[in-house]
């Protein structure tokens, strides 16, 4: 029998293999998939640019960045559920040294790779159209990474709740509405008046506040931005706790 590895090095490699097979390979096989995920944020960008010119365009670009990160999470719900319920791929992997955490991280990485063209597109547009200094760039990167972590971990947990793949389709559409359109992602949280704190209730709008502040398309106080970071970190913690609860190979 061949020697089989199972240590930390194997777990890292397993995560990369999963990222390759579920992220890079589909893009190479059919770039149209990537373009299709960009259809909605680009549509909103065009609409906002036509309606509100300069500021609308910046809002559209910021919203597009956040939306793209969100879509990497919502795509994870569909993929993880599909692999578990339809292909039984997850069960195939249970009988290997690959850990459930490596599996989760690998799938989450794959979704980032899948959405990478969108992230690059909106980043380039942001650099070309908005004044960003180094500190602002770091703020944007940090808040987007926190968002990716939060939505991916919560998405993986959510995927385990489904017993039938078609149910995920409806939930993904609803999540996109609830997390991507209704909260202040494409508009400043200040538009909500006294209820601006509602932006902290979902991770997408907390991230959007930081990015909007960094490119100076909306003005938030230091306290408001600090609270946005606290909200993002809190969502990450929630996601971690939820994922650790379900990232086990064995059904009790």
């Amino acid at each position: 029998m061949r020697r089989v590895r199972g240590g930390l090095r194997h777990q890292l490699r397993a995560a990369l293999v999963l990222a390759w097979l579920n992220g890079l390979l589909p893009i190479l096989r059919s770039p149209l998939w990537t373009v299709s995920t960009l259809a909605m944020p680009i549509s909103l960008l065009i609409l906002l640019t036509v309606l509100y010119r300069g500021i609308g365009m910046i809002m559209g670009i910021v919203g597009g960045l956040v939306w793209t990160m969100l879509s990497s999470g919502t795509a994870l719900i569909g993929d993880a559920a599909y692999y578990r319920l339809e292909l039984k791929f997850q069960q195939l992997i249970v009988a290997t040294p690959t850990s459930p955490l490596a599996y989760t991280i690998g799938l989450a990485l794959s979704e980032v790779i899948f959405t990478l063209p969108g992230i690059v597109l909106f980043t380039v547009l942001l650099i070309l159209n908005a004044p960003i200094n180094l500190w602002g760039a770091l703020e944007i990167a940090a808040s987007l990474i926190l968002l990716w972590y939060a939505v991916s971990s919560i998405a993986f947990y959510s995927s385990t709740l489904f017993t039938y793949i078609r149910y995920t389709w409806a939930v993904v559409s609803l999540l996109t509405l609830v997390l991507g359109v209704l909260p202040p992602v494409y508009y400043p949280a200040t538009y909500l008046g006294n209820a601006w704190w509602v932006a902290y209730l979902v991770p997408t709008s907390a991230t959007a506040m930081v990015v909007q502040g960094a490119v100076r398309v909306a003005h938030y106080s230091i306290l408001q931005l600090g609270m946005a970071y606290v909200s993002s970190i809190a969502w990450c913690l929630v996601g971690t706790v939820l994922t650790l609860r379900v990232a086990k190979w064995r059904t009790p």
Binding site: L21, R29, F89, A95, T96, T251
Partner: protein
């Protein structure tokens, strides 16, 4: 040490006990088949043995490791094709098998070599760069078999591996399984095809309503039946002395002359007849369906 040792294994879902104290021993270098009707507990047993499902009682050891307390050790030594599993369709057979082997922890060189050997063995090498969605259902099933057999695991679990395969494909898979077990590994498979169990198994376990009701070598089980032939009658024609299986009656005889009027089929006794008369619920299921 045995490849699989199961003792008094129990598992329930809700209020229903699906496994009610299963005992199984399987040696190395053996193909063992678990035969039973739908709902008998076959998949539940495989899920427990592959560390995917927690048992509610009893013990199970794979390659000497406890499936509950030593699950990581077990996972290094096993490979499984779950029921209804499908390969990822946009991948090619080579990509799928290769990436599966990397996920199993093989080095890249070992994985490349094993991928080639296994694809050749399963007759898929010519199709190695064809996307799986362009392959037939039988071919894509063979990709899964190629993946787990390339793993070189000590114990391989296959939950209905040949469902949907045509006769030729099934034989390709059988040959590969035989070759794999000849290397010293054990294969534990479930199937609905009694012919499959008869053809490739060294040992057959019959499971019914969560209990192993019989086990042995296929020819030993057949020899437990009396006579040489089976005469099948409609139940309405029987005089009550036959064994009722669904809507038919079986009478075991030593000579074809003993087949009376009304016989609808006369055939040499086989594992199928042993299974049908041993697993009562199979007959009941046929009656219902």
């Amino acid at each position: 040490m045995r490849a699989i040792m199961v003792s008094g294994l129990r598992r329930g879902f809700g209020g229903k006990e699906v496994l009610r104290g299963v005992d199984i021993d399987v040696d190395y270098g053996v193909i063992a088949t678990l035969l039973g009707p739908n709902g008998a507990g076959k998949t539940t047993l495989i899920r427990i043995l592959t560390t995917e499902l927690m048992p509610h009682g009893g013990e199970a050891y794979i390659a000497g490791f406890d499936v509950v307390r030593q699950a990581p050790e077990v996972r290094r030594r096993i490979a499984v094709i779950p029921q209804d599993a499908k390969p990822i369709s946009y991948m090619t057979p080579r990509e799928f098998v290769y990436s599966y082997l990397l996920l199993r922890g093989l080095s890249r060189n070992d994985a490349k070599r094993a991928t080639r050997e296994s694809l050749e063995e399963l007759g898929l090498w010519e199709l190695r760069n064809t996307p799986i969605y362009q392959l037939s259902g039988g071919m894509s099933r063979r990709v899964l078999v190629a993946a787990v057999l390339a793993s070189n695991a000590e114990v391989v679990f296959l939950d209905e591996p040949t469902v949907g395969l045509d006769a030729a494909s099934r034989r390709v898979v059988w040959n590969s399984l035989r070759q794999y077990s000849n290397s010293g590994a054990s294969i534990f498979l479930t199937t609905h095809y009694i012919e499959e169990a008869e053809q490739i198994s060294n040992v057959v376990f019959l499971i019914d309503r969560g209990l192993i009701v019989s086990h042995g070598r296929p020819n030993e089980l057949v020899e437990k039946l009396p006579g040489k032939y089976v005469v099948e009658y409609p139940v309405s024609m029987s005089d009550g002395s036959c064994i009722q299986v669904g809507s038919s009656c079986f009478t075991f005889v030593n000579s074809l002359d003993e087949a009376g009027n009304g016989a609808i089929r006369v055939s040499p006794k086989s594992l199928e007849h042993y299974v049908l008369v041993t697993i009562k619920s199979w007959g009941e299921e046929n009656e219902e369906g």
